[in-house]
Amino acid sequence: MTSSLLVEFASEEQLLAAALHMRALGYGDLEAYSPFPVAGLDAALGAPRSRIPLAVLIGALTGLAASYAIEWGATLDYPLRVGGFPLYSLPAFIPIMFETTILAGALTAFCAVVVRSGLLQWWHPLDDIAGFERSVIDRFFLTVPCDDPDGHTGMRCRTDLAACHPVRVVPVGQP
């Protein structure tokens, strides 16, 4: 069973330094927890470039295309000449096309956060560790994957972490 070590820090600088240190030593799959976004942490953890902007662009363009199709399609389905507008009156279609672009883009952005950051997971093994709740209050945590937390690899990992001034190191099981 793969598991990991949970490391607690008192400040964001220590967390950042530890993430850089452990990655330099070759540890991968690090995850950090903090009460606010720590500048530079994504680079320190080696996070890939987010694809959320692309998803939002696609979502927004889908919204644009959908309302254009509905507006133009409705005009073809029930041709009604009104107010001197030609049947294909693109300028009059623009306000709704604009609004649905924004609407679809925003919905995509919100759903992307839920999906990409794995929300809707109301319980996590970390939640069973007393004191972990301070990750949303005032403490900074790092998880380091480690096959055997109490054995040889765990000992080496703890030795590597000792240079980072952790408040404490706790073993955690994986879900």
């Binding site: 009460p35 927004a60 409705a74 009059a92 306000p95 609004e99 924004i102 992307a112 956060v113 005032d138």
Partner: protein, 456 residues
Amino acid sequence: MSMAGQHAADPLLIGTSDDAALTQRVLRPLWSPHPALGWLMIPAALGSLVFITALCYTFVTGIGVWGNNIPVGWAFAITNFVWWIGIGHAGTFISAILYLLQQEWRTSINRIAEAMTLFAVVNAGLFPIAHLGRPWFFYWLAPYPATMELWPQFRSSLTWDVAAISTYGTVSFLFWYLGLLPDLATARDTAPTRLRRRLYGLCALGWRGAASHWRSYRIAYLLLAGLATPLVVSVHSIVSLDFAVAKQPGWHSTIFPPYFVAGAIFSGFAMVLTLVIPLRALLRLQDVITMRHIDNMAKVLLATGSIVAYSYLLEPFTAWYSGDPYERYIQLVGRPAGPFAWVFWLTIVCNVLVPQVLWLRSLRRNLVALLIISLLVQLGMWSERFVIVVTSLQRGALPSSWSSYSPTLIDACLLFGSMSLFLFLFLVFVRFVPFIALSELKLLRRKEPVETQVSP
């Protein structure tokens, strides 16, 4: 940030020793609420009941219970709608535009302003639906393949309005809720009872402050701000097209979109001040919402008020310059000397003269004066919309159809009832939701020099 004149800028955050203390400080109103809020809820709930009763009466009887009749087919309902949706604009302005401009003073007030936006949009949305006459058919406004094979008229500005308001409500909610997630998680993990822990935990969607959470959150928040920025400008522009597209004298003007947007932000900031000043005193938030916030909001009020004043000047000039006799009549005679001349002059006093006193620094820092000014501005903005809606319809292009207008008791109940509903929803929000962006404050604490003394 540069400091104006000889006065040093006030701090944005005062005297917080550490994150744990700040968390406790900001979430305290959730766990040990101020009794005054509960007492205020009673009149607000009773007023909301009046609103619901008046609304039900309207639904059952028909909109004949209102004072409007041809030619004044739009009156209180549309005035209230435009007024409420305008008030909503400050929330998105603060949360989106000031975020993109990296104005850090938005942090303590953005959550309150966003919540205000949501409740204002709820109120705004109810009025046109009630005005439909048969509100149970409101879904006819949506494009769906109906058995009658009919579609909404997409070339009509009223249909644009439906798209604009529903988009605005949805995007405002998403923006507000996304920003709320980290603070709901903090509320979950500091909640004193198991039930509250469960409820806040359910709403927090499993937020743990992981770096992967923050990474997605920050990108999405920035994108939402970018999407909401053109949205906030578009919504009141589209609302103004409800008028500007029509050929009615006093409505058919290209100045309407920018003029409405400026007025919207003007009334919205006035509402933020109306809510924040008593809230700050009641819950002793002087260290989180400092005089710098108040002063900046007063400056926005002055700036947008000046744009509104300029529009008031330009409207009669354009009417005169157009040479159109009906335009000239409504702008130069119908409004300043017609049946509702007193409402017109009330608008001028409240929106043009009153905000100009904010050039004085001492008045921008006088909380009582600011509260009164903010209330007068809202009165003025309601009057402005009333003048636009009612006087133009009263004095149309066919003098034989000119008529008068008087509202009924139901109209008054709906207007004041909607204010009560707004207040009630706001009080519920302040009671149960972390109303100050806590995670953002923790970040701000590290950027801003923190002072220890509390300003008045």
